[in-house]
Point group: C2
Chain length 410, copies 2
């Protein structure tokens, strides 16, 4: 975590790119150190120093290292819990080394696919944008960011996939003897996500009553609340326990809230706040009739199902909830991606919408991208190379190739 | 991990005690910060700040928090891997809050019992010593250290159990309303061990050929090595796999080394180096005769057992190995605890022994302990209050109460 200054400084672009954010340690409370250390903002420099020792032959490659670590960045004076911090405590990063550019490119595609699946599973909508050269990750050839929108309509980066090319390999002397006997510099990639994703998940799906977890990742998927009745409380609790065991056996994460001191209403409120997707209510009626009442967290609707069909009905409900949550999130996300063909029009709809992601037809030239950033006063987010635009570049009026995305970000 | 300076500075003894070791962060590479941060050398200050918010009633107590974190200490210019580092990456620390002194004392006993069991399970001999007041953990009332000896006959601290009394509670304003309605300061304890224990484990039990893991904690407990024979290699490998599955089923951590490119001899060497307690050799004879050859890592002895008794014989062997390893370690440890009744005699046997732990009858007064430290030139390790000494204090000649322990340490 403490990176010696001379190791950190080996890749100059990296050093410059991170110089504002990287903490320096040069003393203890009572004495000055004989050497300076930096707190890693990411792990490239320490890990790539090791790669230079490990890599000797093309047979060693590819190397793929995955780790969960803490990293430190001074990005802001004003921190936001989980979203914008000084210490990222769960930075999940992969670092890979390859013997060819094509294999590194393949790894980049694989990483984008992994993250796409991950964010899809979290029911988060996103755009994948290639970062403009002037904002590219320090020390990288190019990088892609996954962006989504927070409820305040500011864009937020969910994850990054970075092609480092041979820049670090040259700086750290990561060389391998190829099958043709020649010594060559390796190709590298890295990609990472952090606990920020959890913050985004909670913000995007939540409502005024609290969190709504997608069933797939909810720590508790189903809560059972007994409804006190006359005389047969024993039977109600017994049934609650049976249903709990049955659901547990079927692989669900289920909790029985049998706290006697709380009313059912307080329990509803509590578990809704914590985002449990389904609530099962069991009272007199349920004991007598062989039916089960289930309430959905996402749309606050109750359904009554036959007890014998419990497991399959819950699976169906989970699937419906997931679809509904994704539909809702995606619809909102897409309604906040604003397309405009002139800067003036763009600023008008952006201001009217009070934020969002704004995009313009663009010829593909850096200078026009920079100009868009300048004239809108909004940070560039990048472009999607697979997405074609029609019409004319909003700056130079030549034929548009892609959309250029801008927007305020976290 | 980054502790604001003003929070860290709340307990003055703590601040002073750690001032030489605690790293300061006051800038990034390119700019000065508006406030200073310290890298936590332990977690008291950040955690106790939170305790002051959490604790309000005697009903909240005791609170016990356990965490595995990284901490930073500048203890040495010259680091030793795992043993003496700048970043402890697996610091396992407990922090507890109590409503009475007696409950805190009870917690201290419990913690000492937990660590005793832990080090016993690792087959590590140790002495538990109460640290002299002038070396006590900064901010503590008193603390106990578990010491063992490294092969170079220098003492090493395995773990600490610390009674913080009310010092931090006063500094951080951790108060609770007691059952009598009055507001009182809480009592606290903390205790911790680190990855250093792993380094000690490897050093104490190992020999010239490499590591020797106690069976209870060996990552691989048994390795199976096929011995190539004439023609029936298929049958040998099949038998190896059967034995492996059988042992796995019985709950053992077992590995089959079926690498065809290595000779059995190279495999023996490899797994001995890595400290696997038992090796099973399976060749032609074993296939034909229904017997199994097992080699012990600790004493390099082979035994032949009946195949049908495999599981129980292995359990027996594990028990014998554990006993033998502990006997060996303990005998060596005890032979290096040197008792002397005069300083001159002590220094003579200490120098002749080239290290170890040296102890003298002692009256119990701090000034005599300090004097022992001064006259021997060896750091004080402390005393065991449960251990009575006979004879006269080596310094003041009054009746001895306990032994006072000194020795070079890591």
């Amino acid at each position: 975590m403490l990176v010696p200054e001379e190791v950190f400084a080996k890749e100059r672009d990296f050093l410059e790119g991170f110089s504002g954010e990287t903490f320096v340690v040069e003393r203890t409370i009572s004495k000055k150190l004989t050497r300076k250390f930096l707190l890693r903002p990411t792990s490239e420099t320490v890990m790539y120093y090791m790669f230079s020792l490990w890599v000797t032959s093309y047979k060693d490659l590819p190397i793929k290292i995955y780790q969960t670590v803490n990293v430190f960045r001074y990005e802001t004076e004003q921190t936001h819990p989980i979203l914008r911090v000084r210490e990222i405590i769960m930075f999940n990063e992969a670092h890979t080394v390859h013997s060819s550019l094509s294999d590194a490119d393949r790894q980049i595609s694989e990483a984008m696919e992994i993250y796409s699946k991950f964010f899809d599973a979290l029911l988060l909508p996103y755009v994948i944008l290639k970062t403009p050269p002037w904002d590219t990750f320090a020390g990288a050839e190019y990088n892609y960011d996954f962006f989504t929108l927070m409820p305040d309509k500011k864009a937020i980066e969910l994850g990054s996939v970075i092609n480092l090319g041979q820049k670090f390999a040259r700086a750290f002397d990561i060389k391998f003897q190829d099958s043709d006997g020649e010594w060559k510099y390796a190709y590298q990639t890295c990609y990472g996500v952090s606990e920020r994703v959890l913050g985004v998940l909670i913000s995007v799906h939540g409502d005024n009553r609290g969190i709504i977890f997608p069933p797939a990742v909810a720590p508790i998927q189903i809560v059972i609340v007994p409804i006190p009745g006359e005389e047969i409380m024993d039977k109600i609790l017994e049934k609650c326990k049976n249903i709990k065991d049955r659901l547990k056996k079927a692989g669900f994460r289920v909790h029985l809230d049998d706290r006697p001191e709380l009313t059912p209403g307080k329990k509803y409120y509590w578990w809704e706040f914590l985002g449990v997707p389904l609530r099962i209510e069991i009272g007199e009626k349920e004991v007598k009739e062989g039916k089960i009442t289930i309430a959905r967290r996402d749309i606050f609707k109750r359904v009554v199902i036959l007890e014998e069909l419990l497991e399959e009905e819950i699976k169906k409900l989970f699937s419906e909830i997931s679809k509904e949550m994704y539909r809702r999130a995606k619809e909102w996300f897409e309604s906040n991606i604003l397309t405009a063909t002139t800067i003036e029009e763009g600023m008008k709809i952006y201001n009217k919408n009070k934020g969002g992601i704004l995009r313009f037809p663009w010829c593909g030239k850096d200078e026009c991208g920079l100009k868009i950033e300048e004239e809108t006063g909004l940070p560039a987010l990048g472009h999607n190379p697979n997405e074609k635009a029609t019409g004319k570049c909003v700056i130079c009026d030549s034929d548009a190739k892609h959309y250029f995305y801008v927007g305020k970000k976290y």
